[in-house]
Symmetry: C2
Subunit: 469 residues, 2 copies
């Protein structure tokens, strides 16, 4: 596959130039003002006049199957929200497939070329769930980091006990059985060259034992897998860490050896200054999910502090039940301007160009692929996106990246390539039949309003008590 | 004009029912499960199967001509941002026209049927500016509240003096001359039945004398005009009010008699509890502009407190230089979930149905039209919107209003009527040639990155000093 994108607008340090970019076999080979037409005679030529070329963004944290409950989840904090979510998640393999397709399509059409799917597994069908997501992402052609969501403690263990005495059911599957599933999935599906990556992904300190974190760390070392977890999303988790460990969650994870340059941590809302130093020292990445953090009332992650401390930050949409979309541009916009109210000195605020760098290179670094993804440079993978600057939502013409990040662009991704393969053309995903997907999503669902979650009824009084409500 | 929308999904107290709605001569006349086909034989029938019918939202605060600088404004707090904005606003009448069209189109395609344009006037061409906005909004067919932005103090007066001694140039036009312009505009253009309303709109306490507020109050009383101002958007304004009046801005405006049920106040970020009581007692409306408040770092308006105190709240996009879009659904989403991080008790959080009520009825009340707009009820004006629930961004099917408010819907407005006249059909604005508008916006602008604002250079050191930066 040999493509030449001609006359695209490309960002320089603080300006734009019109350049042509040639990529062969998935890799960027040349960038130049223009190429000799004879040289590129075997290349597929793409006219990119009035289009902006950017590296693909990374949707660095999501849960694809949550798409089935977007729009209907109650206005709850995480712990109760999660109880409701699980009560109404009678997932089947077909739904896993469709929501992975949907997640990939929304990510691609908002500038993403990679997705980290912290994938909820159907009990008893764990490998089949993973295989289904692999199939969906390969069909769409998005670069996938499938991070099977694992835990080895039951849901109620995720709420602090406070002064009460809480007893929990043991989790239905042993720690070792869970680790075996991940190892088998790795052997079967982990294939970075084909754009399919398996990550170890213990959900977080709230529902995982040390043994699970240690087992995951071993698998990560053995197979060079990324590590992906939730971290200190809520006040309840902050409290729980102290109950469980007598120290912060970050301090504990560092002691376990879980934190390194392959570790990306979703949320990171409630960290101490010492925790921040640990993230910087271990080169861990913070995945910022601003919309989910607002919707669940988790708080505002101290992103400006992370940046000042040298911690790598990327953006995620989080699952569509807590967002309730998979539009990366929305996450990038809100995840950037939100912090202007946390620091009165505007000289610390994130600029649109910095946002783009966080979303692309920041995402790549968090997946240990900073040398291969995240910028338009020779030798990097051709994960590229062309934005149509003649779209109404990007007009009048001013600063293209400013319009893209700070506006509310719609229908603006003209073309996208992943690993050099074109997946979006003329504003449409061309690898799958999106209209058919739309019809399937319609067919497999119905409008509804009234749901009563039994688990919420069981947990709510204790939650309010222990959280002082 | 006689339309019957058949089989639309309509929200009831806590559910949905399928209903048909007939409106004649701009007014909703009947709502029923179904109509006798003979009865509606003279009516234009609209098949609304799989569509959600809602009252049109109100874009309750914007500045249309800011569209020319969206995407390029520096990351500054309001006071410096404003200095940059005015340095690069060499507006001409043609641009005023095009950006009013653009503002109307983006508002309509995100569910709005009314716009409050706090319109920046071209010096020396004040009436022509207003006439141009009137023309644009009438061509598009959106209900317009044109609130000519007036002041009678110069820009530098808007920054607190602190311990320094500041001298300002007098404003170029006298208070009386300004009031004369507004009275003339009222006589010429104020025509509520035709959907064109003039409002008195002193920009805010930071740049207006008491004489201007009092003159505006008199005009409002004489012609029954709405009153529209910015209020306590920034910490600097809070400080300035104390310097100017020795009390809060709200206390001062109440004494001046400016606050009543026709008064809508944009921002209201920095109010005291007493101020909030005054707003409730005077039945003033708060217009929440969450995206602008974040982008400019103004703060998070205490919207949950307003709601608890019984203050009416509506949503605005604010001008496109501080947002940088005119998508009402984005403002509604962020303006709802943002507050979940300000109050840990989730029982106070805004639900999607409440958001819709704020955006529609709340907006109408703020314009003194709560009896005529803002709900789908017999006797109300037919300002209505049909949303296509088969759109990919509203699938899978769950709770339609939840999907609309909490998702990131795109291309979802199928049809819209203003005053019973159809302005959107099949997802397209049908009253003007939008593709031509797109080309005009492109033609009248160019990509740019580097701008240096002289006014910012003049003001910045003083701003940092007085704000303790």
């Amino acid at each position: 596959m040999d493509f030449t994108i001609q006359n695209a607008l490309i960002a320089t340090q603080d300006d734009y130039i019109t350049q042509s970019v040639r990529f062969i076999d998935g890799e960027i080979r040349a960038i130049s003002k223009e190429f000799d037409q004879e040289d590129v005679s075997v290349s597929t030529l793409i006219n990119a006049e009035n289009q902006l070329l950017l590296p693909g963004f990374i949707n660095a944290h999501t849960h694809s199957s949550e798409m089935w409950q977007r729009g209907i989840m109650s206005m709850f904090p995480l712990e109760l929200w999660l109880a409701e979510l699980y009560d109404f998640a009678p997932l089947d393999i077909e739904k896993v497939y469709l929501s992975a397709l949907g997640t990939a399509v929304e990510t691609l059409l908002s500038g993403g070329t990679s997705v980290v799917d912290h994938l909820v597994l159907i009990p008893g069908k764990e490998l089949e769930t993973i295989a289904t997501a692999v199939r969906a992402y390969q069909e769409v052609g998005i670069r996938a980091f499938i991070a099977p969501l694992i835990q080895d403690e039951s849901l109620a263990a995720g709420i602090p006990a406070g002064d009460t005495k809480q007893n929990y059911e043991p989790y239905f599957r042993s720690t070792q059985a869970t680790l075996d599933i991940i190892e088998e999935a790795t052997k079967k599906f982990h294939n970075p060259d084909a754009g399919v990556n398996i990550a170890v992904a213990p959900t977080g300190i709230q529902l995982c034992t040390d043994a699970l974190f240690q087992g995951c760390t071993e698998l990560s070392n053995k197979y060079n897998l990324c590590r992906h977890s939730h971290l200190l999303e809520t006040k309840a988790q902050e409290k729980l860490a102290q109950e469980k460990y007598g120290c912060t969650a970050v301090e504990h994870l560092q002691r376990l050896g879980y934190l390194d340059a392959r570790t990306s941590l979703a949320h990171c809302v409630h960290l101490t200054d010492t925790d921040i130093e640990i993230l910087a020292a271990t080169k861990s990445t913070v995945v910022h999910n601003p919309l989910s953090n607002l919707r669940l009332g988790s708080g505002i992650a101290p992103i400006l502090k992370y940046r000042q401390a040298g911690v790598n930050v990327s953006f995620g949409c989080d699952g569509a039940s807590s967002n309730d979309s998979q539009d990366l541009l929305e996450a990038i916009k809100i995840g950037s301007i939100l912090h202007n109210v946390t620091d009165f000195d505007y000289q610390h605020w994130i600029t649109p160009r910095q946002s783009v760098e966080m979303a692309a290179l920041g995402g790549a670094i968090g997946l240990n692929m900073g040398d291969k993804l995240g910028s338009v440079d020779i030798g990097k993978k051709a994960d590229l996106v062309l934005y149509d600057l003649t779209s109404l939502s990007l007009l009048p013409r001013t600063d293209p990246i400013g319009l893209l990040v700070l506006g509310r662009p719609s229908n603006i991704v003209n073309s996208a390539w992943v690993n050099g393969k074109q997946v979006v053309a003329n504003g449409q995903v061309i690898t799958i039949d999106v209209d058919n997907l739309r019809q399937e999503l319609f067919k497999h669902s119905q409008w509804q309003t009234k749901r009563k979650s039994k688990s919420v009824a069981d947990l709510e009084a204790h939650y309010r008590l222990v959280m002082g409500l």
